[in-house]
Symmetry: C2
Subunit: 343 residues, 2 copies
Amino acid sequence: MTMSNTGGRRRPPTIHDVAREAGVSRGTVSRVLNGGHYVSPSAQEAVNAAIRKTGYVVNRHARSLITGRSDSVGFLLTEPQERFFEDPNFNVLLRGCTQALAQHDIPLLLMLAGTEDERRRITRYITAGHVDGVLLVSSHSGDPVAQELREAGVPLVACGKPIGLGSKVSYVAADDRDGARDMVRHLLSLGRRRIGVVTGPLDTPGGVERLAGYREVLTEAGVEVDDRLIVSGDYSRASGEAGAERLLAQAPDMDAVFVASDLMAQGVLTALQRAGRRVPQDVAVGGFDDSPAAVAASPELTTIRQPWDRISAEMVRVLLAQIGGEDPAAVILPTELVKREST
Amino acid sequence: MTMSNTGGRRRPPTIHDVAREAGVSRGTVSRVLNGGHYVSPSAQEAVNAAIRKTGYVVNRHARSLITGRSDSVGFLLTEPQERFFEDPNFNVLLRGCTQALAQHDIPLLLMLAGTEDERRRITRYITAGHVDGVLLVSSHSGDPVAQELREAGVPLVACGKPIGLGSKVSYVAADDRDGARDMVRHLLSLGRRRIGVVTGPLDTPGGVERLAGYREVLTEAGVEVDDRLIVSGDYSRASGEAGAERLLAQAPDMDAVFVASDLMAQGVLTALQRAGRRVPQDVAVGGFDDSPAAVAASPELTTIRQPWDRISAEMVRVLLAQIGGEDPAAVILPTELVKREST
DNA sequence: TTCTCTACTGTGAACGCTCACAGAAGCATG
DNA sequence: CATGCTTCTGTGAGCGTTCACAGTAGAGAA
């Protein structure tokens, strides 16, 4: 019972093979591999040729064993509901991070910690040093995992501002408040004065900040902030529909509504149309996210674009910097108003 | 300039620490870690206690270095267009695989190989043994990567049947043909006889098989297969819309249409409604996938559910079996007809 | 010449683990 | 009592790297 050659896989060349081929020592090959300082041009070239010839690829396990680094990072999703997976933004984020890391030749480990059990297992895995850092994605923000990892000294970057974690943890976020301000200002500029809002969950930064932006702009413009015009949802389509119905009941004179996500805005459109209100003539509707849902809706949604591609790139940049020894940092990125048919 | 304790991260306990704590040797601890054979109950217990006490987690790099396995698998997406990322099924697949692997304590490495460059880099990475196997997801199927990896002896499981790779490569797929048969039979049972079809791309197994199922059932039922009732699309919404228009022009008496994806079916609905046909009264519409698009459509789509959760679970099962030395295998999973409003 | 400095190269010792092997202990068998 | 077998345990070697250190050679300065 030999397992010599299962499937034709043979032992890959080692640094030793390269050294022999190039006529130098292991040390010199290693130096070439790690930046090429203190290596003569001739040796440099001989080693590179030998690497090409042998098809050598460094054994990361051996390297990691001695360096203590793993040269990989985790993408951690701590979400009881797997809602994030249905969120199109999640895809962009995941893809963006993978690509940004690939440029540094760093693999991304996808980690899902839905249950308490998984959370424990993954925390152990991470704190044991199997990844150099963690990109954290969680919507609800009193996340114990973030706290634990931070205390264990694991480099960490969150997507969106984590509430109640102090300033010790890095994060990258879109400027929710400013985006909301843009949208509400836009609605005001259209002459609307009875502007409703369907917020996100108020235990998330997005929920809180977008509502704050709404309030600020109305106050600045001298428009009354009417509690009957404020309801909150949970980012789901159904909650948008329910929210709009409540708004219509509480404030029938509403002439615009700012909805804190495109998905909820779709629900709002449905409710408005059922109530016989025309969009945008009777009620203007503004969404948030610029997700595919925004163009799938009819009429197409005016919305706030979150710079997801830049968010992922920045998350990776900040994380790598932190792994490199820099201090935690917060990055806030600007949003953009995208005008379509619904306003 | 010491780097003793950056961020509070200290050197994790080794197998040696556990051995000392338990009063046994490294070897015994190792045996406990790897199944516990040839270990006395008392030693077993002492070691487990020591592991709990020290918080020991095995250093996978050290283990991998000697075993030659990496105890991780890659999830490889070879897609020039990043279309898959927009596909809701992709999420389910990715999540399912991650979770199924997590049960075996195996991390998933997400790999994107969009460009030729990335493809080369990743092939090198994989063939160097940095993952034990690969879950391959690519829609168009003459994929050179699959061929290369297979030749290098890397365990591999594809999602969907790869065309033209011989029987050497494992795959897991839904029974496209049978699903199509179910749908067409369903349409026949409603009394429809002029049943159109919008196929997927005919260089994909899904495209080919679903059309074959359509043909078979009509032939078996003694209903004429009319070429004017057959058009093909590319799974996009727009192509569904265009397809329906062609069908209406070529066969105005069409009373049903089987569409090879829900997204295309959405387009079909749009075109039908524009043409003044009522769904399902004038024309019944059947989709495929049971994606979120199916319930988002109005009327909600009757469709064929692909068992994505089982597909991912089976992919992982087959891959692990193959890593364990078993031969490649093909798994075909049954689909399910989901009746909604559109038929 | 001799010393020092710089640029480069080779070598042994880890890193933390598994594996093969040697041995010990217990028990039944010859 | 020796022998074999089974169950269990400890030990040394080695996986493929990097790192620290000890050289070597050549150039410039004393």
